[in-house]
Subunit: 102 residues, 2 copies
């Protein structure tokens, strides 16, 4: 299974872009991008948006990979992980069909 980091690195290399170039576009130090690609750091949401732009990813798809990574990572240790996702799904559906009270 591919990690977000691997996906990013593969695409960057395909496009023949340097860490330096992509990092500049993201407005971060290349050290951070290097770590992101090796899954030593997690990208911020802003990083993902910019990455999708410069690497010509489908914007939603990269965000989906990013967020699902985050979620999977935070619950994988629980043995009730699958059930957590099922319940979360119900809650999301509920939230989407009901007005947000403010």
């Amino acid at each position: 299974m591919e990690t977000v980091g691997q996906i990013i690195r593969a695409k960057r290399e395909t496009l023949r872009l340097l860490l330096r170039q992509v990092a500049a576009y993201l407005d971060i130090d290349q050290a951070v991008l290097s770590k992101i690609e090796r899954n030593e750091r997690k990208p911020s949401k802003e990083n993902i948006i910019r990455l999708a732009e410069i690497l010509k990813f489908d914007k939603d798809e990269l965000m989906i990979q990013f967020m699902s990574d985050k979620i999977a990572y935070e619950i994988a240790a629980e043995d009730c992980a699958e059930r957590v996702l099922k319940v979360a799904e119900k809650k999301v559906k509920y939230l989407k069909t009901h007005p947000i009270k403010n």
Copy 2:
């Protein structure tokens, strides 16, 4: 749809316990518990474990509610939320069936 806070408050009241009493068991100030019950603060994982004990909840079930709340909250705003959960599910399954490299 019931929030974790609502579930906790309802059960505490059924058991005729005071904020003060439950908070002492959790080893936190009652102000925090008050806020947790009104969804103004999120409980820590430790809080959830102790709450399950004193309020006689099934431990897993309360943890599921807690974690699914957290996840639903963090992705509800995205319109690809459902898909994120599907992908997360696959990733969790993958992580569970593959040894964790260290």
